[in-house]
Symmetry: C2
Subunit: 301 residues, 2 copies
């Protein structure tokens, strides 16, 4: 089943203790798409400026990402400049230029209106709501959010929560959104406000999912060295939803396995700068990593 | 097999958002003993002052903890006053009085010299070394440590590492001791310096073990509410070593299962104030919690 993603496409400048990059293809929708494309056809809805390099378009096309929804408009592409230090568990934003993303209103191409699986990557909740209204009958919609929208768009965010199947956030966002003192209490709070599932990303500590079947927790793939954590959360969401869409299955077992695939894709993302870790992966490499992960976390594997 | 523990016995004052306690039986060796006593006979070596209440002695005895190694000396019992706030992931020490623990030198009773399983709870590494030298031929020795000894007793701590089978620490201690930027790198660093196993406790994020078979990671039992985290790490160590000693097995599978039992015992510890969560547990309750934990973390359970 085709998987639709709406979100940012950008050019990143990233500094880590292992080096730095500039003019690097990035953005939440792009990391998501690269990860998901290993499991399912992906439809990308987003905007870039006239400075968006042709080789970035080609990199997306090589992952067989459907670019019908990619708009190129007057102006400059969204740019993010971030730095990671120490344990590299959090990005420090050095600079951000919204550019063409600032005034962007997602337009879902008519050919995408039948999309069954939808990911609303981190973006303004009012735009998410308008994007959703352009879809016919999605089967599974997941949305991400961040501190800025929690603070500035609480009403639209609450309305959005009533219209989606799953909410995905990182730890600090879940605590901030819910105002609860623990992740489990935060996940319960979210699920009481609409979404059937709440997924909380804990970075190097793994993830937690609350659903009708209860709580499911997974550690992250153990890594001695993290080269570039940029996009890990979106790669996680991409592996998760790519797996669901690829199998067209949102049953309880599929949700768990999806979370494991998300974990695996995030682990590939952080091993190399930018999208390189997600770019030239084979299905065999993904399965081998998954088997290794199962061994390192399972008592009876 | 009998399990020997050397460590602190104290009277705690604890404040949490859920209430407070004073003159509460505590100390690392006590939390360890209470957890371990559900799996194996425990021999406790430690010191208390003349103010140590008789009902605390009786609480230890009711858990069938062998108190031959418990010394009562002139002076006051070790006292710790701690507070937990917000997410309660770290204790703030309000006050600490070493009292009789300050000058204490563990004396291993002759009847304990044959102990095969030994836990050196957080304490001065030079004392740990002297305690070890009083044992005949231990099969599996695990030691805990903390920031103070990492800073002030590096030489003795390194010597100790060469004489133990496993080192257990929390996250920040592992990073501090090793000077490495990731937990996996820290665990490797530790294992290169003597111990066959390195266990890193990550609180609500679970634990990580490095051994000859590679890396094993487990999340914590998901908890919506933590009433009192005091002693969770020692209860974790107690469940882990209690399981190993009870089965007299230090094989690779036993190590993994031990870690799961440690996780389960820590989860009981934090549910109630002080030792109450560990005190009146039945084997059935432990197995039920373990089965629930397996379900919430295992893809194929």
């Amino acid at each position: 089943m085709a998987l639709l993603v709406v979100g940012s496409i950008g050019l990143d400048e990233v500094e880590t203790p292992y080096g730095s990059t500039a003019d690097e293809l990035g953005g939440s929708a792009v990391y998501f798409s690269f990860a998901a494309s290993h499991f399912s056809p992906v439809r990308l809805v987003g905007v870039v400026g006239q400075d968006f390099p042709q080789d970035c378009v080609e990199r997306l096309a090589r992952r067989h990402i459907d670019l019908t929804g990619l708009q190129q408009v007057q102006g400059a592409t969204f740019r993010w400049h971030g730095a990671y230090e120490g344990r590299m568990d959090q990005a420090r934003t050095v600079e951000v230029h919204m550019n063409v993303l600032g005034a962007y209103e997602p337009a879902i191409p008519a050919a995408y209106a039948d999309s069954h699986y939808v990911f609303l990557a981190n973006g303004p909740p009012p735009s998410h709501l308008r994007a959703l209204s352009q879809l016919r009958r999605p089967r599974f919609v997941m949305a991400d959010t961040m501190n800025y929208y929690i603070e500035h768009e609480p009403k639209a965010l609450h309305e959005l929560m009533q219209r989606i199947d799953a909410m995905i956030m990182n730890e600090s966002e879940a605590l901030q959104l819910s105002g609860r003192p623990s992740l489990l209490a935060a996940a319960r709070w979210v699920c009481e406000r609409g979404p059937t599932y709440c997924v909380i990303k804990k970075g190097e500590h793994g993830s937690l999912m609350r659903g009708p079947e209860g709580i499911f927790v997974l550690p992250a793939v153990p890594h001695e060295t993290v080269v570039d954590p940029t996009g890990a959360g979106d790669a996680f969401a991409g592996g998760f939803m790519g797996y669901l869409a690829g199998r067209d299955d949102v049953g309880a077992e599929a949700m768990k396995h999806g979370l494991a695939y998300g974990t695996v894709m995030a682990s590939f993302a952080i091993e190399q700068f930018g999208l390189r870790g997600l770019e030239n992966l084979t299905a065999d490499a993904i399965e081998a990593r998954r088997a290794e992960f199962m061994r390192s976390t399972h008592l009876f594997a």
